[in-house]
Amino acid sequence: MCSKFKWFLLPLLAVLLGASEPPARDWSDLTVIGSELGTETFTYSQMAAYLRGNNLRWPNQKQVVLVLPSSDHPGAEKVASAVYGKSVSQVKRYWLAQVFQGRASPPVYKDSNEEILKYVQAHPGAVGVLVSFNGRSELSLELVD
């Protein structure tokens, strides 16, 4: 009985946690860039859903390609915390589970903002998260509440 109860509660808890939105304040040092997504304005929750792999297609039906800072990137912890509300390791476990289960395509990890920017520019439908980016990019997306 205990075992059956445990397997019943855990999925329910996971659903509840997954459905919760990340806090908006954590995105202040982050710059989201994208290439040919069909629109340049997204809400935070929309973008969060894209970055978590919940939506696989952009409004223009291009495939969503996530480009995230690797664990060697200084802003990796920031992105993990702001976008996923998890640590870097947990985000990896998250994406491992997603890949195993075939739910989403895994993100492309880059070690620097420049690499992320360069990759997004080169790949239409790619969306990247820059941390502490001081420059100006035509690919920057406007996130609104």
């Binding site: 994406w95 491992l96 589970a97």
Partner: protein, 761 residues
């Protein structure tokens, strides 16, 4: 020709047995093969799983350690698409972190025997656990089963292919053999037109076909040679036959023995008579032969007469030539030129025979058959020679059977002879009676005529008497007593006057009566009374009657009455004579048919007999020109008158028939003459001659035989001369016949009456 079915062939049965053996062996082999294949697949699957799972685990772990989730995703995709793994999972702290597919998450922890599992350690910055790869045993079994199934299919296909190949191989072998058998059978039945299909094979079948082809060609060649040989043989036979006919081979009888001597007869082998006959023939022809004969294809086979010919044949001249006597029982081809080897003087030598003899020896070196061929000697010569053997043998056989029959017949011969004699006598009597009736039938016309003539005369006389009586009564009514008395005397007396004299005779008598009157009654000389008296038939010699008539008062009326009276007397005498003639005819007929007279012997006048017969056959005598009897009245024979009547009547009737034969003519006239001439030893020869057609020489000897006749059916019974011959014999006489173009004479020699006691009948 009976056709052999495929299933009847030896090769087909051989292959059928082979197929059955193959089935019994192949099925266990296939099943074992299938099982082995299955186990092999299972082993391979396990090994493959271990290997593949290690590789997959290594790739997944490497991708995880590099945090390369794209690469991981590719690996996972490949792992899933390979289908080799039932699930892939990562277990961390005894719990399943991830599992693909998720529904087998419980199975990961349960770890049942339904799956093969492979585990590998995974240790990264974000994960530390075990990577588990598993494959489903059920799926493996299905796969193995699927993989093993072709083995069964292949085995079945291979087996069926093998069967088909075997059948084809059977056909490949059987059909040529069948064709060869068909050809061989056809050849054995002398069908040389049978086609031989050549398959251009170089194996045994091809050699067999080639051999059959050669065999057929050889047979055809042999057949043609045989036909040519037969033609030559027939030509020889024909020539020899012609030669034999020219040689006038009169002591031999040519017989076709082809249908006669087809069976052997061993019964006579112990018959001494047959053996003696053979020896006689052997002496004649210089050979020793046997008895039972066969004839085949123009040759004559003489079957050995065991125990006889075997001994005699060694004495044959050609026997010495048989230096090499075969012991294998086959035909020993030994040619004998008989014309050379036969001793001088033998019949065969004289006839120039050229015989070929083929002694046939059995295993015991004994001659069982002699096969003869005509060299120059023809088949007919051989047949004639051998048929003489057989005729002799058969004659002996018939003689033996005849002897037995003769003994049986002798037992009852006497009784049979007596019965036969009795039958013959009865038959002879019947035949004589029949002939007599036939003669009576022929005489009936004459009898009727002989009776009609006197009856007619009687009738005419009666009418004349009636008329004359009337005149007489008229004359007599005026007569005086004296005239009536004188008329009565003349009526009752013997006086007969010829009232039918001619005028010359009347004038002569008148003259004589006038001379008498000149002397005795001169006053009446010129009264004319002489003329009345002469016309009434009176003559000068009737002086007493003339005187008494002249003295009457009215002699003229009296003379007329006398004339009437004489006419009545003459006609009465005619009636009496006619009655006598009719009576005589009836008496003659009675004498001819009377049975009472058949045994009555007496002296018979030959002339009377012939005259009676002349009267009876008078109507037939008119058909010839002359019938003459030159027989003295005093020639008499002793015999039965009725039978002699029949004898003469048959001979005369036979002569009349010959003279009246249709189309026969004699310019000088048809004649029959009966002569009786006494000869020495108290005999008389009665010749009955006629100048009818000549009796041919070849039938003279048969003419006295019963039922032999040259006449047409309505005229002849074939009994007449046969009866004549018997009747002559009964009268101790002889009959002979001579006939030429001029005349035919039957001469009957009979004993004269009184010469001895007469012929005893």
């Amino acid at each position: 020709m009976e056709r052999i079915k495929l299933h009847q062939t030896v090769s087909f049965r051989f292959w059928l047995v082979l197929i059955l053996l193959s089935v019994t062996v192949a099925i266990p082999v296939v099943l074992n093969l299938y099982s082995y294949q299955k186990e092999l697949l299972q082993a391979n699957t396990k090994e493959s799983f271990d290997s593949n799972s290690k590789i997959a685990a290594s790739l997944v772990r490497n991708a995880l350690e590099q945090d390369d989730f794209l690469l991981l995703q590719n690996y996972l995709t490949e792992i899933q698409e390979s289908g080799e793994f039932a699930y892939i999972a990562i277990v961390e702290n005894d719990s399943v972190f991830v599992c693909q597919p998720p529904e087998l998450r419980n199975e990961v922890l349960a770890n049942t025997d339904d799956f093969n599992r492979s585990q590998a350690k995974v240790n990264t910055s974000f994960l530390s656990g075990e990577l588990i790869l598993a494959s489903s045993k059920e799926v493996d079994a299905t796969v193995i089963k699927e993989l093993s199934r072709p083995v069964l299919y292949l085995s079945a296909v291979a087996f069926l292919a093998t069967l088909i190949l075997l059948v084809l191989a059977s056909l490949f072998l059987s059909r040529p053999v069948l064709r060869a058998v068909q050809v061989a059978k056809a050849l054995s039945e002398q069908d040389y037109e049978v086609p031989i299909k050549m398959t251009k094979r170089t194996d045994e079948i091809g050699q067999l076909e080639n051999s059959l082809l050669i065999l057929r060609d050889n047979l055809v060649s042999l057949k043609e040679e045989n036909e040519q040989f037969t033609d030559r043989l027939e030509e020889k036979v024909r020539k020899a036959t012609n030669r034999l006919e020219r040689k006038n081979f009169s002591n031999l009888v040519l017989l076709d023995i082809s249908n006669i001597f087809l069976s052997s007869d061993a019964q006579f082998t112990s018959d001494e008579k047959v053996l003696a006959a053979f020896r006689l023939i052997n002496q004649a022809f210089g050979f020793s032969f046997a008895a039972a004969l066969l004839k085949e294809n123009g040759a004559v086979v003489v079957q050995h007469c065991e125990g006889v010919v075997a001994r005699d044949i060694e004495q044959l001249p050609f026997w010495e030539k048989m230096a090499e006597k075969p012991t294998d029982g086959h035909l020993y081809h030994f040619l004998v030129e008989a014309s050379k080897d036969k001793p001088e003087g033998s019949a065969g030598k004289e006839q120039g025979w050229d015989l070929a003899a083929y002694p046939y020896l059995d295993a015991s070196d004994r001659v069982n058959y002699l096969l003869f061929e005509g060299g120059d000697a023809s088949k007919q010569e051989l047949e004639a020679f051998l048929s003489m053997y057989l005729n002799l043998y058969r004659n002996f056989q018939r003689f033996e059977s005849s002897e037995e029959e003769l003994r049986e017949l002798n037992k009852t011969l006497e009784q049979k002879v007596l019965e036969k004699i009795k039958q013959n006598l009865e038959m002879a009597n019947n035949l004589v009676a029949q002939d007599k009736l036939a003669t009576i039938g022929e005489m009936s016309a004459a009898v009727a005529h002989d009776l009609n003539t006197p009856l007619g005369a009687i009738k005419a006389s009666a009418e004349n008497i009636s008329y004359m009586t009337k005149g007489l009564l008229e004359q007599a009514s005026s007569f005086s007593e004296g005239e009536s008395h004188l008329l009565g005397e003349m009526m009752n007396g013997d006086l007969m006057l010829d009232i039918f004299k001619n005028s010359r005779q009347v004038r002569l008598e008148q003259s004589k009566i006038e001379d008498w009157m000149t002397t005795h009654r001169p006053g009446l000389k010129d009264s004319g009374l002489s003329s009345a008296l002469a016309s009434a038939g009176f003559e000068s010699t009737h002086e007493d009657w003339l005187g008494r008539i002249c003295d009457l008062e009215s002699p003229e009326s009296f003379i007329m009455a006398v004339n009437e009276l004489m006419g009545i007397k003459i006609f009465l005498q005619g009636i009496e004579d006619s009655v006598d003639k009719g009576t005589q005819v009836i008496q003659n007929l009675s004498r001819f048919v009377s049975e009472d007279l058949e045994q009555e012997r007496s002296e018979i006048s030959l002339r009377n007999g012939f005259e009676v017969i002349e009267g009876l056959f008078r109507h037939r005598m008119r058909s010839i020109d002359s019938y003459e009897i030159k027989v003295d009245a005093d020639i008499k024979v002793f015999g039965v008158e009725v039978k002699l009547f029949q004898l003469w009547s048959n001979l005369i009737k036979n002569g009349l028939d010959a003279l009246n034969e249709e189309g026969f003519q004699r310019p000088e006239g048809k004649k029959m003459v009966i002569e009786a001439v006494p000869v020495e030893n108290g005999m008389v020869d009665v010749h009955i001659r006629n100048n009818g057609p000549e009796i041919p020489e070849n039938i003279k000897g048969r003419i006295f035989k019963k039922f032999y006749t040259t006449k047409q059916k309505r005229h002849g019974t074939g009994l007449g001369l046969s009866i004549v011959s018997n009747l002559v014999a009964e009268h101790k006489g002889e009959i002979s016949l001579t006939s030429d173009a001029e005349e035919t004479v039957f001469t009957v020699r009979l004993p004269l009456a009184g010469a001895k006691e007469g012929a005893e009948v």
